[in-house]
């Protein structure tokens, strides 16, 4: 593998299914050892991109270099340098934990001695000590995902691709899964992870936001916030969300409003004294304001703003 600072370099990658463009001419790179988040709503083209990068799908045009090998010219070399956890659960439900690990370990060419060693690691990662002989299908969702990840890194790949590993997993298990991703990252593994949970973007070192096959934003969480949200954000709690939205929507100082739980998040071009301005505006329109304060923009604020203003 060439000594390159980037684990993945993507150049003008495009995938069409018939006339439908699923991934539309995207280019980016992923720094070795980082956690790279690939975000987007369902149908944005995340899985299609991952399948091209793992050598499972042929790109319609463009190319990518993964772990030093072109996905077009050397897909099999790529395959031996990466781990992959697909969006569908893809261990055998009718095999035991041990049987699954053994099978994939052998298919990846591990000798029996390293297989035994890696088996212990994997079982530990998945919190399955003492349950090695359980049928995989009978495990809880969160544990299954941990086992799938542990299996995907059995052969110590330099890069691992995770396609929506936290979808359908409860919030506590999700948190635990991200801790696990960070543990792997600390060992130097590059992690390419997709998710449609926008809040998970905060756990990544770098992010791409994909929409309808196109990149609409990229950077670190910090730089994204700085670059895309130069305006203050106010969080306003009120009992009457609808009237509040109407009043605020008509005001010229408002750039964008969105609902966050029982509060309204408001992006304003007004830099000074904005709290008192909006609180008075609402009171004068007989909307009761329970609480108003300036908030730090979250990535969700950024993404919602971007998705609404992508034109």
């Amino acid at each position: 593998m060439p000594d390159n600072i980037n684990a993945i370099e993507v150049l003008n990658l495009t995938k069409r299914f018939g006339n439908f463009v699923s991934v539309d001419d995207i280019s980016f790179s992923v720094v070795r050892g980082s956690i790279f988040g690939f975000l987007g709503a369902n149908g944005a083209g995340k899985s299609t991109t991952i399948k091209m990068l793992t050598g499972l799908l042929n790109p319609t045009s463009g190319d990518a270099v993964v772990a030093g090998y072109s996905i077009k010219k050397n897909p099999e070399k790529v395959k031996s340098s990466i781990g992959y956890m697909s969006q569908k659960f893809s261990l055998y439900n009718d095999l035991t934990v041990k049987e699954n690990i053994t099978f994939f370990g052998r298919v990846y060419g591990l000798d029996e001695k390293s297989l035994q060693r890696r088996m212990l690691d994997a079982v530990k990662i998945a919190h399955l000590e003492g349950n090695e002989d359980r049928l995989t299908g009978s495990l809880p969702g969160g544990i299954k995902q941990r086992l799938a990840l542990a299996t995907a890194v059995l052969h110590n790949p330099g890069i691992v691709f995770l396609d929506e590993p936290t979808s359908g997993v409860d919030p506590i298990a999700r948190r635990g899964f991200w801790d696990l991703i960070h543990e792997l990252s600390d060992k130097g593994i590059t992690i390419f992870v997709t998710t449609h949970y926008l809040e998970e973007a905060e756990y990544c070192h770098n992010i791409i936001l994909l929409d309808a096959g196109k990149i609409i934003a990229q950077g670190s969480p910090k730089s994204l916030k700085a670059d895309y949200l130069k305006f203050p954000i106010l969080s306003i709690e009120t009992d009457n969300l609808i009237s509040a939205m109407q009043v605020l929507g008509a005001d010229l100082n408002v750039k964008d409003i969105s609902v966050f739980g029982n509060a309204v998040h408001l992006i304003t071009s007004m830099k000074e004294n904005n709290e008192s301005y909006f609180s008075e505006l609402l009171q004068s329109n007989s909307v009761l304001v329970r609480h108003i304060k300036s908030v730090e923009p979250t990535l969700e604020d950024v993404f919602i703003y971007l998705l609404e203003h992508k034109n």
Partner: protein
């Protein structure tokens, strides 16, 4: 690498173990199929079932019936006393031929005249009817010859030195032309085809459906390793089913393998190379198990069976079918299994069929393997 292939084989058997349905198919299907198909064969003719309407009821007529019953071919099911009873019995389909002995039978014989018998044959199964009349005519001509000689001897004369010509048909290998005997060995061919074609295709497509296929092809495994790993377990299952089928054939129908058992096993392997190849091909063009099943059965298996002489010898088939059949591996396999099981043949008589199957098998399997890609599109 052998280890990778072995890993897949081990995995497949671990999965078989947890899927009782699979074992049902492998162990029970051969026996059920044999019995079902074997008994359902309507052309079945192990014995010729007769009814006798003896209007004469004389010493001579009783003598004739006794002779009829003495052989192994005819079974007298009923003695009738009226034509209406005769009709009733014929209609039930149980009786193939009724022999009516007229009341002047003995009288005519004693007067040295020609006595006539009436044979009433159920013609709804033309094949069986003609076989039955054939056997009866032969029996009667022998009986009548014996009777003539007996008359000469009785009268103290030497029979004239004039021979009569009697064609004595000898049906070899299946003396009673029992269709079951013709069909049953081919069931072994069917079993092998079903397992290696349908189950193989389904097993691969099932992994596509549940998503594990993606997880396997993202590994650096070589296509040939994946193919062999998926095919070998079904070769083993196919042999298990075939052996069970052969055992059932012997136990249930009393049809043993007369010829070379090892030749049968080897040529079976040559044959299933084709069906494994076709199964692999079906799996590459199907996205769902249902689709794979439909294609495997309706586009591959049924045409193959119908055009290969499963139930009837191809000699009677239309020319077009005969020509097409030359390109179907199953045709040769049917020749081989019938040859080995019924006729006691082996390598010397059947090596050319085996060779053709080997060539076809290698060709089909290679062509399908080349099409096989470790890609999702």
């Amino acid at each position: 690498m052998i280890r990778t292939i072995l890993a897949i084989i081990v995995k497949e058997f671990q999965q078989f173990k947890r899927d009782p349905k699979m074992f049902g198919i492998i162990l029970i299907a051969p026996v059920v199929q044999l019995i079902f198909l074997g008994y359902a064969a309507t052309l079945d003719l192990k014995f010729i079932r007769l009814a006798i309407f003896d209007q004469d009821n004389s010493r001579q007529s009783r003598e004739l019936v006794k002779e009829l019953e003495a052989g192994e071919i005819f079974i007298v099911e009923k003695y009738l006393s009226s034509y209406s009873e005769l009709e009733e019995n014929m209609q039930s389909g149980r009786i193939l031929v009724s022999v009516v002995i007229p009341d002047d039978y003995e009288k005519k014989l004693l007067r040295r005249e020609t006595a006539n018998l009436q044979l009433i044959v159920n013609g709804s199964d033309g094949n069986a009817a003609s076989i039955a009349t054939g056997y009866l005519s032969k029996f009667l001509s022998m009986y009548s010859q014996k009777y003539t000689i007996h008359l000469f001897e009785e009268s103290g004369m030497r029979p004239p030195p004039i021979g009569t010509i009697i064609a004595e048909p000898r049906v070899w290998f299946n003396p009673l032309l029992v269709t079951r005997v013709y069909m049953v060995p081919s069931i072994v061919g069917l079993l092998l085809s079903i397992i290696t074609l349908i189950l193989t295709a389904l097993a691969i497509v099932k992994e596509k459906e549940i998503g594990t296929y993606e997880q396997i092809i993202v590994t650096p495994i070589k296509p040939y390793q994946l193919i062999l790993g998926k095919l070998i377990p079904f070769i083993i299952l196919a042999y298990a089913a075939a052996l069970i089928g052969l055992a059932a054939m012997w136990i249930v129908f009393g049809i043993p393998v007369k010829g070379s058992f090892s030749f049968l096993l080897i040529s079976s392997f040559f044959y299933i190379l084709s069906t494994l190849g076709l199964g692999l091909f079906v799996s590459t063009i199907s996205k769902t198990q249902q689709q794979a099943m439909m294609i495997a059965i309706f586009a591959v298996l049924l045409p193959m069976v119908y055009l290969s002489g499963f139930a009837f010898p191809l000699d009677n088939a239309p020319l077009f079918v005969q020509i097409v059949s030359y390109f179907i591996p199953l045709t040769y396999f049917f020749v081989v299994i019938r040859g080995v099981i019924l006729q006691g043949n082996g390598f010397i008589e059947l090596w050319d069929e085996a060779l053709i199957m080997l060539l076809m098998g290698v060709l089909i399997l290679l062509a399908s393997a080349i099409r096989f890609r470790k890609k999702l599109d």
